[in-house]
Amino acid sequence: MVDIKKKANELLAANAVQVVIGFEEGTSGKSRAIFAQDAAGVDKLIFNSQCVLNLAVYLTKHEIKKLGKPAIIAPLPVMRAIIQLASEFQIKESEMAVLGVSPEGKLVEFQTFAAIESYLKDFKIAMDEKEKEILAKISNMSLSERFDFWMQELGECFKCYACRAACPMCYCHKCAVEQNKPQWIPVAANNLGNLEWHAMRAMHLAGRCVNCDACHNACPKGIPLNFLTKLMMVDAKEIFGQDGPSLKDGHLLSTFKPNDKENFIR
């Protein structure tokens, strides 16, 4: 952390940035976001295995933007989110500094977003053993078992939208569920409304999810809804060869290839 804190202090002292977005110690061993604007704040910065919140979610918030140009502490999930947000024109290279954190906890300095993307080539998003196991377990269930499984899990949802709020890719100022002409997704929490909400959100994240699990971690009911977005990621890779966020490649659902392959269209 020493190298990161040193750099953060340097940037603040030189007024190169006005705020450092990082992690600090929270309640009972949890970690939480801190917006350090001076040395005292920088001193509180930590980085450990509890730091699972995706800080990139703050980059698109107007209240945080008002604090000034930010430097953001960026472990791998945050780096990936930054590239994805940049490719969607939500953040500009010149308007922020990125203090990368390697998997070993060391500072990695980036001057450009392209440098981040290049760094990420060595850390491709991949399902680990546990994730593969769960995906396989669900996929190997019979159709009705799968439906029952998801009705059971999604039945717990009471539509608090914490998943949406914690996701760095859900930055729409007015979410589709907040429109009421038409009320496309029912406001009520019932199996149908929950299914429609989660299916829609998974599709809106197709090709954009960076596998940070912020949605699942935020869910007060512990629903494994991150597996819906993981499934989309796996499909995007296997079917279309999309291998993580990219500044240059087009987005999964807003581009196409004339020879996209499928086997179900007659």
Binding site: L143, F158, L192, L253, E262, I265
Partner: protein, 149 residues
């Protein structure tokens, strides 16, 4: 006992499949009457959520059809649609929603025969699958009043 007649909703594009369906009619080809058509300017306009909405409104099966690739009236609408369908179908399957009840096809304005064939075969297979009761139960929350939390 009356045989179960499936309710099928078809989301079709105006320029190809809808015209093709017209041709089926003008050619006096007889085909199953279970289908209600919803006409779109292009398959690219078909919101993926409409499929779930159709099931939620009581459809037992769905047909989605448009222009052949490279023939889209708006050049690339059907290419976008195809990508969307590929991803969405994977998600639906993962969620345990019966994708055997959804038939995707490319039917051009000249393929009156193909349209009849698509409709007939879809109706036949959905009839064999039976009514989509699992989904209807979930969608019936107005009556069952099953809510969460």
């Amino acid at each position: 006992m009356t045989e179960f007649e499936p309710k099928i909703v078809a989301f079709v594009c105006n320029w190809c499949t809808y015209a093709g369906a017209d041709l089926t009619g003008t050619s006096r080809i007889k085909y199953a009457t279970n289908v209600k058509l919803v006409r779109f300017p292009c398959t690219g306009r078909i919101d993926f959520m409409l499929l779930l909405k159709a099931f939620g409104e009581g459809a037992d099966g769905i047909i989605i059809s448009g222009c052949h690739p490279n023939d889209c009236h708006y050049t690339s609408g059907n290419f976008h649609a195809r990508r969307r369908w590929i991803m969405f179908r994977g998600l639906l399957n993962f969620l345990g929603i019966d994708t055997r009840r959804i038939q995707f096809s490319w039917v051009s304005a000249a393929e009156g025969g193909k349209w009849a064939d698509i409709v007939n075969s879809t109706v036949k297979s959905v009839r064999e699958l039976g009514p989509y009761n699992d989904y209807k139960k979930v969608a019936d929350f107005l009556e069952t009043e099953v809510t969460n939390g």
